[in-house]
């Protein structure tokens, strides 16, 4: 069972090379941006003062600044990962019907449950892990690049960067975020798998239609916005950050940011994993995902494909 599942997961990576290609492309863009950024600031006179200034900063402030840079580097990956997940899940059970290979896949001794499970696991575990590894590599690459630049400018890269970066805190927090995000968004993932299993054409359009139309219909028919709010909260308000949610982080007043800056900053400290895991909405979402996935398995098993 486990060996088959691993083979099925490997098969997903073979078929959907975007799982690697998308984060690698983002990494290349980020690395190039960091290179061209350096070339640009090289033209500015007195830039060496900045290096001196950084050297004189307190260590905790340097850590915050560097962690900020790393979060900045990670953000596009998180965004790209979600877009990738949408397209992957919509394609996962649709492609095998479109290229008519479904009967071949069904001729091998793997159940429909095992096969659909492998697609779900790819979305919630494999894609985040691949993205995570490439984020780490990008961090190292960009920091190495900045180190070389600092050394040329007479600063101490070891002192300014490598000793100061809170690697463990930053990477653990990134991994938690990457794994928590698909869990929180799992109702969408389940819905996309289900659409992928039944739609005859344009799964993206079919998947998006109710997400757009249901809130509209509700507003027109009942004048209420329950569906719209539910979808909005699910999409942008992941309750992972202690006392805040990710939107609040952006919109908090300056006072709040100052208190943050004066404390020893820890990204992990900003997260409340226990609270996230205890949040009933998380489990409600997982239940919805489970129901949609079961429906996808049912459709794959019972639909009569004309042989």
């Amino acid at each position: 069972m486990i060996q088959s599942q691993l083979a099925l997961l490997r098969r997903e990576i073979w078929e959907h090379r975007a799982i690697f290609v998308v984060p690698v492309v983002v990494a290349i863009v980020m690395a190039l941006t960091s290179l061209t950024g350096q070339v640009t600031i090289n033209d500015i006179e007195h830039i060496d003062i900045a290096v001196v200034g950084a050297t004189n900063m307190p260590e905790s402030a340097r850590a915050i600044a560097l962690s900020g840079i790393m979060v900045g580097l990670s953000s596009p990956f998180v965004f790209a990962m979600w877009i990738l997940t949408i397209f992957y899940t919509l394609d996962s059970l649709y492609a095998e019907r479109k290229d008519r290979s479904i009967l071949f896949w069904r001729s091998i001794p793997c159940t429909d449950f095992e096969t659909v499970l492998s697609k779900l696991l790819t979305a919630v575990i494999v894609i985040p892990l691949v993205t995570f590894v490439i984020i780490m590599a990008t961090h190292l690459l960009v920091l190495l690049n900045v180190s070389i630049w600092i050394d040329f400018r007479g600063g101490s890269a070891w002192h300014l960067i490598w000793a100061a970066v809170p690697f463990i805190d930053n990477w653990t927090a990134t991994l938690v975020l990457l794994l928590a995000l698909p869990l929180w968004l799992s109702p969408f993932i389940g819905w996309f798998l289900f659409v992928s299993a039944f739609s005859k054409r344009s799964p993206l359009l079919i998947a998006a239609s109710p997400i757009v139309l249901l809130p509209l219909l509700e507003k027109i028919l009942f004048g209420s916005v329950v569906v719209a709010e539910t979808l909005f909260v699910r999409a942008v308000k992941m309750p992972l950050f202690a006392g805040l949610d990710n939107m609040d982080l952006l919109f908090q007043g300056e006072d709040h940011l100052e208190t943050l800056a004066n404390t020893e900053l820890s990204l992990l400290g900003l997260m409340d994993l226990g609270g996230f895991l205890a949040n009933p909405n998380l489990w409600l979402g997982l239940l919805v995902c489970g129901l949609f996935t079961a429906a996808a398995i049912y459709v794959r098993r019972y639909r009569d494909e004309s042989l």
Binding site: S101, F104, I108, L307
Partner: protein, 285 residues
């Protein structure tokens, strides 16, 4: 001997349309059964039921299993090639072998590689880079390397040229078939497989209209080529089918002693294609 496939009163309907209508048959181990029928006769639906891809009414047992409910166990011992069960185009030959090695307990990679050595197929190629003939060769090679008890072939050679078709059936007999293995095959090119078959079953409008061992055909069926006068006499023996050929009559009889027809014209055993037409058209008449 226990049957490998046993069907009793199997039916399958889609809405009001009865695709398979109360069919019963047995297939024993070590046989090659040809399932012959016109388009829409229910062959494919019947094969799908045997493969556990569709549910049906009645009692159907394949290798002692309920194919629809025990599909995973069944698939360890059954292979199938259907014209539409195509290999995924994105996969590399080597990946296909890796995958099957991991998921199929009865797959022998060494055997598959040995068979592929005899072809021009490169392990690094993707399926989309291979010609249709090569894809079928690849499919047959991996299936031959699976130690399965039953192989189901649904129009396996459709769209292939004559050389690939001959080679396909040659390989099927030489590399795959032995007395432990059983094959069910459907095709429109009946002439090409006639000599392979040990058993033949005709199906029309969802019903079995003939189910016989090939060896019994000459005893049961006879074709008479007679002049118009003699044909009139022969008609008293109730032919199941008659047609005109070059001013003469060809009459097909079922269960008539050849001695009774002696002297009325030339007697011969009908080939499968003619017999099929006789049974199907004769029924309609």
């Amino acid at each position: 001997m226990t049957s490998l496939v046993s069907a009793r009163n199997v039916s399958k309907s889609f809405g009001n349309f009865l695709a398979v209508d109360d069919v019963s048959f047995e297939i024993e181990k070590g046989r090659i059964m040809g399932l012959i029928g016109p388009n829409g006769a229910g062959k494919t639906t019947l094969l799908k039921a045997v493969l556990g891809l569709t549910d049906c009414q009645g009692s159907l047992s394949v290798l002692g299993l309920d194919p629809f409910r025990q599909r995973k166990e069944l698939m360890q011992n059954i292979c199938f090639i259907a014209d539409v069960a195509v290999l995924p185009r994105w996969i590399r030959v080597s990946q296909l072998l890796d995958f099957l090695q991991s998921v199929h307990p009865k797959f022998s990679r060494a055997r598959a590689e040995e068979l592929l050595q005899k072809t021009d197929i490169n392990a690094k190629s993707k399926v989309r880079e291979l010609s249709k003939g090569m894809v079928t060769q690849l499919h047959l090679s991996i299936i031959t390397a699976i130690d399965a008890k039953l192989l189901v072939l649904d129009e396996p050679t459709i769209g292939l040229d004559i050389i690939f078709r001959k080679e396909f059936y040659g390989n099927l007999l030489n590399d795959y078939f032995d007395e432990e293995r059983t094959i069910i095959i459907t095709t429109h090119q009946v002439e090409e497989i006639e000599n392979l078959l040990t058993d033949v079953m005709f199906i029309n409008h969802g019903k079995v209209v003939l189910d016989s061992q090939m060896d019994d055909i000459p005893e049961k069926y006879v074709e008479l080529l007679a002049s118009t006068d003699n044909a009139a006499k022969a008609q008293t023996f109730n032919p199941i089918y008659e047609k005109d050929v070059f001013g003469k009559k060809v009459l097909t009889f079922e269960g008539i002693d050849r001695d009774q027809l002696a002297g009325l014209g030339e007697l011969r055993t009908p080939d499968i294609a003619d017999l099929f037409v006789a049974k199907v058209k004769g029924e309609a008449a």
